[in-house]
């Protein structure tokens, strides 16, 4: 009687091989941790699993379908984000190996790898989820891991504090989100995004209800991408978490949040059949683009202005990552495939430069014992290689040529201008100017203050410098030759639109 369904399930298993690889690794690490009690083994297995998952992902490139009775979509769009998540996960795993914070005071690292893998799995599912239940579960899987990870060094007070703050705000936003979902379900009688869309398209609706429920669901995602006004947790959590996790949250978890945000809006509120690549047709009179534009402006402006006053580099990067979320939101505002492409391109470059900056900050913290801007004075001459690379990352985050960040901004602003949102582009550019000031402050302290402070050079291991190089060289190269990334992103804007 259920043969057909079971067969479909078995067929679907083939479509989630990368996720299964992560899951198997997750389980294997749990067992290995019990047997070997050795961090190196855990790390090795985790990296191996991530790579295997990547190989499966490459093998599935171009798939554009849906699996498990429309619970998740396997399409180029989610594939792009999965690559981002995998790359981030790899970087975080390697970066953790260099972190003294984590290898200090008998912090047991076994759970760390399990939780990172669990989080990656949650993000993978989130990137493809097309069902409200699935979205909620994937989001919680990701959140649950990140709550624990952000308080991983719980012996440090600010780390526990960060974790607790994250949990409380996180539960609140999850609550709001699931409330919105239940209203949406009550109106349409379905959890499936495609079904919700067609039901909404076929029936007239009390518009404010759609608006309120949609807004509530979006609030849950906005929390993950730390968009204003759901950003309150960000600075404290970013400052309190181990820096590896801060970097992970600011890139990977943000990427997954954007993936689900884009997919939810596109699948639920836009006419699937009528939309072309140039413009998506909205189904009802709710100006989602304007809502998102307001969100984008508030996010980038607040992020940048508060970042101006920060004296701690880690905290400054936290606020600047809020600002970057604001820029990225502009890409959704325009509601075209070009806008979507610009988000993908920007995210890829953002991954490189943000991770780079965080790693250098971490390495500096090990040597000078501080993340304060004032303690960076003259560090350029004590550690020329790493300071040059940090300069490169900061220049790139500002969006100046010849770095990848410039190309990201260029494509993004290009898409915004192209669709006629001139005022938005102007605000975006003004924000970039503001951001220049605080990024330049770090550069100034590193190179222009205490030029001859007489302190000896700082020694860094070759491996740690190599890791930063691996991120730094592409940041520069993609600033001049970004064609491949553009093409890749162009192919990846296809969202599975239902059968």
């Amino acid at each position: 009687m259920y043969n057909a369904v079971v067969n479909e399930l078995i067929g679907s298993l083939g479509l989630i091989k990368p996720e299964l690889a992560l899951l198997v690794t997750f389980v294997v690490v749990i067992i290995a941790d019990l047997i070997f009690k050795n961090n190196k083994v855990n790390l090795g297995l985790s990296i191996l699993g991530t790579i295997v998952s990547g190989i499966f992902l490459i093998g599935m490139s171009g798939t554009n379908t849906s699996a498990f009775a429309n619970l998740i979509a396997v399409d180029p769009f989610s594939e792009f984000f999965k690559y981002l998540i995998l790359i981030s996960t790899l970087i975080v795993l390697v970066m953790s190996e260099f972190s003294e914070e984590l290898h200090n005071r008998d912090v047991w690292m076994g759970e760390y790898y399990m939780l990172v893998l669990g989080m990656a799995l949650g993000m993978f599912l989130l990137a493809g989820a097309t069902n409200l239940i699935m979205i909620y579960l994937a989001l919680e899987t990701m959140s649950m891991s990140s709550y624990i990870l952000s308080g991983y060094t719980k012996e440090i007070k600010r780390s526990s504090e960060a974790s607790l703050k994250y949990v409380i705000f996180g539960s609140l936003s999850s609550g709001i989100m699931i409330y919105g979902m239940s209203i949406l379900f009550g109106m349409t009688g379905s959890l499936d995004l495609y079904a919700i869309q067609s039901y909404l398209a076929a029936n007239g609706f009390f518009q404010p209800a759609i608006f309120i429920s949609g807004l509530m669901v979006i609030a849950g995602f906005a929390y993950k991408i730390s968009a204003v006004p759901f950003h309150f947790w960000t600075p404290d959590v970013y400052e309190g978490s181990p820096i590896t996790i801060t970097a992970y949250l600011s890139v990977a978890s943000k990427a997954a949040g954007f993936a689900v945000l884009v997919r939810f809006i596109k699948l639920t509120f836009f006419d699937a059949a009528g939309s072309s690549d140039e413009s998506w047709i909205m189904m009802n009179s709710i100006p989602w683009d304007m809502v998102l534009a307001v969100l984008a402006v508030a996010t980038m402006t607040l992020g940048n202005i508060v970042a101006l006053w920060q004296s701690n580099v880690k905290r400054m990067l936290a606020y600047s990552s809020i600002a970057h979320a604001g820029y990225l939101l502009m890409g959704i505002v325009v509601m075209t495939n070009t806008g979507l492409m610009s988000i993908l391109v920007y995210f890829f470059f953002y991954l490189l430069m943000n991770f780079g900056a965080f790693i250098v900050v971490m390495l500096f913290a090990h040597k000078i014992g501080s993340e304060e801007m004032d303690d960076y004075e003259g560090i350029g001459y004590q550690a020329p290689v790493l300071a040059s690379l940090l300069t490169l990352f900061l220049v790139s985050l500002t969006g100046l040529p010849p770095t990848a960040g410039f190309i990201g901004k260029l494509v993004l602003f290009g898409a915004v201008l192209d669709s006629g949102w001139y005022w938005l582009a102007v605000i975006g550019v003004l924000n970039s100017v503001v951001s220049l000031y605080y990024y330049a402050k770090v550069v100034r302290n590193m190179w222009l203050r205490k030029v001859d402070n007489g302190k000896g050079t700082l020694k860094f291991s070759i491996q740690s410098q190599a890791l930063v190089m691996v991120l730094g060289i592409p940041t520069l190269v993609f600033g001049l030759f970004f064609g491949p990334i553009m093409r890749w992103a162009e192919h990846s804007v296809r969202i599975f639109l239902g059968n």
């Binding site: 001459y381 220049v395 100046l400 040529p401 010849p402 410039f406 260029l410 602003f413 290009g414 201008l417 192209d418 582009a425 102007v426 550019v429 970039s432 100017v433 220049l436 000031y437 330049a440 100034r444 190179w447 222009l448 203050r449 030029v451 001859d452 001049l480 030759f481 970004f482 064609g483 553009m486 093409r487 162009e490």
Partner: protein, 523 residues
């Protein structure tokens, strides 16, 4: 073409080469940097020899595919206007490097790397035939300049460098918006290219009559803001005195000599060429600001107590002439503007060198600290006088030619349509004479009151080597400017024709026919 590529990339290769030297090897580093910049100058002379001045278009064009998705290419080339400015760059840089030998005493390796990168970027700005490439070079300038002022500058260097950086970036980001907007508009609305985007300057400059006027005006303003900050035009000039005062001597020389010209060059190349109608509409406002700047700069220069600051304000005044000449939009105006850019580079550069020489000896720039220097350093007094008179605009020296042509251009301009610009602008010449001569008198003449000034050594051979080449060109342009005017003649006439065609429907000049075959061959 090869010569152009070499001129562009040689400094960059030099900078990379320097990275491999040991920091302790100061002599080798200095000499290598100087050698590379001299070699670049020699190569650029071949450019000048190979240039066909009858051809109004671009020569030595080199195109390479770079980013096909954007139709942004590595496109470079020269016309008469840019050739002169490239020559100015390659000429000033070795002199600036030579002057660094004594004035830069810390972190020499990093310094010379920065200067060479700066030269690469400056040359790049003048040869780019692609808006995207141009923007990249334009921004690239900031990085070495930021460090040169910030690390090797004076007491308040941090304030000055941050101010310089912020002013310039604000402007250039607006230019970026305009570049992207223009690229999309040209690519998708006008040309319907498959990728919907192009930044090819040679294509875009022919599209001016197909861009609606209101759009032209917005883009014009965005470009103009960026360029006018760089020039700098009153009231956007406030970064300049600080940057000049705090920069080390060679930094000031390059800043005054070349960097400011990027702004005026950009105005001609992009604002006038691409948005001629918008330029005409705004010519009155900008010319008025230019005249205000001429007078304001002169008046403020008069009350300065610091010699370097005085020279800095004189730059504001002199660049006003250039802007006035450009927005007169006549052949004399353009020619005058271009030759005045070169002049200002030479004479103000030389003034900064002279101030630097005084500073090296006395470690102060206050006018009141000096007096009677002419008795102690007679040779220096002569050289300083030449630089000063060139800057004043004494007939027979270069400054006169430039100022005369720009003022005449503004006088004859049908687009400005009023004599008042010229009349007020001309007062700037008189003011210049007043503040420069007064400064000279206070520093050089009188009795040697200050005992510290009694035993100052006269010019060293190194200093002679810096000043004499500049003097040669100052006199050359002053006596026989045609050598240089001829180079940019055809290009400016073509530009004027374009403007006259729009305004009066007939070209103003007849240009010789250029056969494709002899495009690059000198006649």
């Amino acid at each position: 073409m090869t010569a152009l590529l070499v001129t562009l990339f040689l400094p960059l290769l030099g900078a990379l080469l320097l990275l491999f030297f040991k920091s302790e090897n100061k002599g080798l580093i200095k000499n290598t940097a100087l050698g590379i910049s001299l070699l670049t100058f020699v190569v650029s002379v071949f450019l000048m020899l190979g240039f066909n001045s009858n051809n109004p278009g671009f020569q030595f064009i080199y195109e390479a595919v770079w980013i096909s998705a954007f139709d942004a290419g590595f496109r470079i080339g020269l016309d008469g206007m840019s050739l002169l400015l490239v020559m100015l760059t390659t000429f000033i840089t070795p002199i600036a490097i030579l002057s660094s030998f004594d004035s830069i005493k810390k972190r020499e390796k990093e310094y010379y790397v920065m200067v060479l990168i700066l030269q690469f970027a400056m040359t790049g700005v003048f040869v780019s035939l692609d808006l995207f490439l141009f923007y990249i070079f334009w921004e690239l300038i900031l990085i070495p300049m930021y460090f040169i002022i910030g690390i090797w500058g004076g007491k308040d260097r941090l304030y000055a460098t941050v101010k310089f950086f912020l002013f310039t970036v604000v402007g250039s980001l607006f230019m970026l918006i305009a570049v992207v907007w223009l690229g999309y508009y040209a690519g998708s609305e006008i040309l319907n290219l498959s990728n919907g985007f192009t930044t090819n300057y040679l294509v875009i400059k022919e599209l001016h009559d197909r861009i609606p006027v209101d759009l032209q005006e917005w883009m014009f303003l965005a470009f103009a803001l960026s360029f006018l900050i760089k020039v700098p035009l009153f009231p956007l000039h406030t970064w300049l005195p600080d940057a000049h005062t705090e920069a080390p001597t060679p930094g000031s020389v390059i800043l005054a000599g070349v960097l400011l010209k990027m702004g005026t060059y950009g105005l001609i190349r992009f604002n006038i060429e691409i948005f001629p109608v918008a330029s005409m509409n705004y010519s009155g406002i900008i010319s008025t600001l230019a005249v205000v700047g001429i007078i304001y700069g002169a008046l403020v220069a008069m009350v300065q107590t610091d010699i370097k600051r005085l020279v800095a304000y004189s730059s504001v005044s002199h660049l006003g002439f250039v802007v006035l000449g450009i927005f007169a939009m006549t052949a004399e105006g353009f020619q005058g503007a271009i030759i005045q850019m070169v002049n200002h580079g030479l004479s103000t550069g030389m003034l900064f060198l002279c101030v630097g020489m005084l500073y090296e000896r006395r470690h102060t720039r206050l006018i009141s600290e000096y007096g009677g220097i002419a008795k102690v350093m007679p040779n220096f007094a002569v050289m300083f006088a030449i630089a000063m008179f060139a800057s004043v605009g004494l007939p027979g020296l270069n400054g006169f030619i430039g100022e005369f042509l720009t003022l005449k251009g503004a006088f004859d301009s049908k687009i400005l349509g009023s004599y008042w610009y010229t009349i007020f602008g001309a007062t700037g010449v008189i003011f210049a004479a007043v503040y420069l001569l007064w400064m000279y008198q206070r520093v050089m003449f009188g009795t040697v009151d200050n005992p510290a000034n009694k035993n100052l050594p006269d010019l060293t051979s190194k200093e002679w080597a810096m000043l004499v080449p500049i003097v040669i060109f100052i006199v050359w342009i002053g006596i026989y400017p045609n050598t240089f005017l001829k180079i940019s003649d055809a290009s400016t006439k073509q530009l004027v024709n374009k403007i006259e065609m729009i305004k009066f429907n007939k070209p103003a000049y007849e240009l010789p026919e250029i056969k494709p075959a002899d495009k690059n061959i000198k006649k």
